[in-house]
């Protein structure tokens, strides 16, 4: 059940958020001209999210559920600040970082070590914090041996391990997690999930998006089900998963 306490302020507030994408049907002056002459529509809009509202309390772990195209990744991007809502408001309190498509900030021509520093700084860590956590990050990724090798020589598994390891060791209050289970082999996945659980126990706020329904209902106590941009259920995660399967 969502914990509600008077004393603790929420970490994330999503208030009446609508996100509308403009789909342009023409991509050049010529096409625009031709379409205008033929009186075809030049663009249409698509509401990825429509009037979504909820608040996430401190220390809560929330699963965003929904099928492909339901708008859950858009919602995660709004919370991280990558996208801006067209209507409504998103507010967050504290430091926020995302395990969203890990490795986005990695450069193939830099060594693992340099990439750890670069990516951790991109995720908002200070030089001091990175230096303090560097050994822990490398140990977690289990690639100590190759840390001074250029990342382009890494196998895709090694690359993902290192990227994930950096992201999960960032100093945060709110952790956004998108599709964690695509990372590495099974033992490493178990280790990642254990780490996420540990962060949750430490009182971090988690927002998780995954298609592995058993895993998310296990990690998260609360589930928010979205369908075609509308919030259709908000409550215990087990119930949310059951509702989703009914659809």
């Amino acid at each position: 059940m969502p914990r509600t306490s008077e004393a603790v302020q929420p970490r994330v507030i999503v208030d009446g958020v609508t996100k509308r994408f403009l789909l342009r049907h023409t991509h050049s002056l010529k096409e625009t001209f031709v379409a205008a002459v033929q009186r075809k529509p030049l663009a249409s809009t698509f509401d990825a999210l429509d009037g979504i509202s909820f608040a996430i309390e401190e220390g809560q772990s929330v699963a965003l559920l929904g099928y492909n195209g339901s708008g859950k990744s858009t919602l995660l991007k709004l919370i991280s600040g990558v996208l801006q809502p067209d209507r409504g408001e998103v507010l967050t309190r504290g430091r926020i970082a995302g395990l969203i498509e890990v490795g986005a900030g990695f450069h193939p021509d830099l060594s693992g070590r340099e990439n750890v520093y670069l990516n951790a700084a991109i995720l908002g860590m200070t030089q001091k914090e990175i230096t303090a956590r560097f050994d822990e990050i490398v140990a977690f990724s289990e690639i100590e041996q190759f840390i001074d090798t250029e990342v382009k020589h890494y196998s895709s598994g090694m690359f993902l391990r290192l990227a994930f390891s950096v992201a999960i060791h960032t100093e945060v209050d709110i952790l956004l997690v998108d599709e964690i289970l695509s990372v590495g082999d099974e033992p490493f996945q178990r280790k990642c999930i254990a780490k996420i659980r540990q962060l949750h126990e430490e009182g971090k706020t988690l927002v998780v998006v995954s298609h592995d329904l058993n895993m998310v209902s296990d990690i998260c106590e609360r589930g928010i089900l979205i369908n075609r941009g509308k919030l259709i259920f908000d409550g215990p995660s087990k119930e949310a998963v059951a509702r989703m399967r009914e659809q």
Binding site: P2, T4, Q9, P10, I13, V14, D15, G16, F21, S53, F54, A55, K77, L78, I79, S80, G81, V82, L83, Q84, E89, V90, L91, T92, R93, G94, I96, G98, I100, E101, A104, G105, H107, D109, L110, E114, Y117, L118, A121, I122, L123, G124, T126, Q127, L225, R228, K230, L231, I232, F233, D234, G235, R243
Partner: protein, 305 residues
């Protein structure tokens, strides 16, 4: 699609109520609403890493490596010197023409490199911008810094050559050099942010910038003596010509590097310092405009890239 039966609507309503009553509390921030260039300063450690990355990977995999930073302007200089200095005999008419030419070339190079790279920086870093929020001003600013780092060894060569020929600048001329460098860097950052932000939605922007860069090289007295321009243009047009911030900066570079090596034989336009200060002011205004437009368009970057 009507509301489905069950308890969700009340649950959502209840949470929303509590949310809207708490909203004004301190400590909350709207994610993705940055403070612009001030954020770049706040995240200067990240900026330094981004710059270091660019510098490290620029000539990765090439045998000459950073020597390319000398080879390219060197070849450019030789071509212009042969074509204009020797064939068109500017070398005979303008005292110390090689120094005149080189001091202009390195300044215009740092401007064009910073401007065009800053314009493309957002599209080049699209993968990152689409996934993680960070102050996006970091990208054009780091492009400018990288261009400046690239400029330093060239400036060093120029200094050595000047010293060998006999360079005796006064304090004002040195100050003019600093103002000129600051002007082109500010201008490149401001215009880079302006055209870079537009480039996200309309890739016409970077082509337009290539056009501007070409015009700028010939629209300032880099390759030819400014005295030739003064002979042709009427006074009012000459004022317009010198109001171009890049022209003013190039003039300051000539006044600082070239003129003190000519024993007073060089021919400088009047009021270089005045035009230089105006240019710096204009560049700062354009930087403010660039930031304003950038901030307006920033919200759409992640979805338009």
């Amino acid at each position: 699609m009507g509301p489905k039966p069950g308890r969700p609507p009340e649950a959502a309503e209840e949470i929303r109520l509590s949310a809207s009553t708490i909203t004004p509390a301190p400590g909350f921030a709207q994610p993705g609403k940055g403070a612009g260039l001030a954020d770049v300063f706040r995240r200067r450690y990240l900026l330094s890493l981004l710059v270091r990355k660019e510098v490290r990977v620029r000539y990765r995999g090439s045998v000459l490596g950073w020597l390319w930073s000398y080879v390219k302007p060197g070849a450019q200089f030789l071509v212009y010197f042969l074509a204009l200095g020797v064939f068109l005999n500017l070398n005979g008419n303008q005292p110390n023409y090689p120094i005149y030419l080189f001091s202009g070339i390195i300044l215009i190079n740092v401007f064009t490199e910073a401007f065009s790279n800053a314009t493309r920086s957002l599209v080049d870093n699209g993968a990152l911008i689409k996934k993680i929020y960070l102050p996006r001003e970091l990208f054009p600013v780091s492009s400018t810094i990288v261009a400046f780092i690239n400029f330093l060894p060239q400036a060093l060569i120029l200094l050595v050559v000047c010293a060998v020929v006999g360079w005796r600048p006064d304090g004002i001329q040195i100050l003019g050099l600093l103002i000129a460098a600051l002007t082109v860097l500010t201008l490149a950052t401001g215009l880079g942010m302006l055209f870079g932000a537009a480039n996200v939605s309309f890739r016409d922007s970077q082509n337009f910038v290539e056009l501007i860069v070409m015009v700028v090289v010939w629209g300032s007295p880099v390759l030819y003596p400014i005295s030739q321009v003064a002979k042709v243009l009427p006074d009012w047009a000459m004022v317009l010509y010198q109001l171009n911030p890049v022209t003013a900066a190039v003039d300051l570079f000539h006044a600082g590097f070239w003129y003190p090596t000519t024993d007073g034989r060089g021919n400088l336009p009047g009021d270089t310092m005045l035009y230089g200060l105006i240019a710096l002011g204009v560049s700062l205004l354009l930087l403010a405009l660039g930031q304003l437009v950038f901030h307006r368009l920033e919200g759409r970057f992640a979805q338009d890239l």
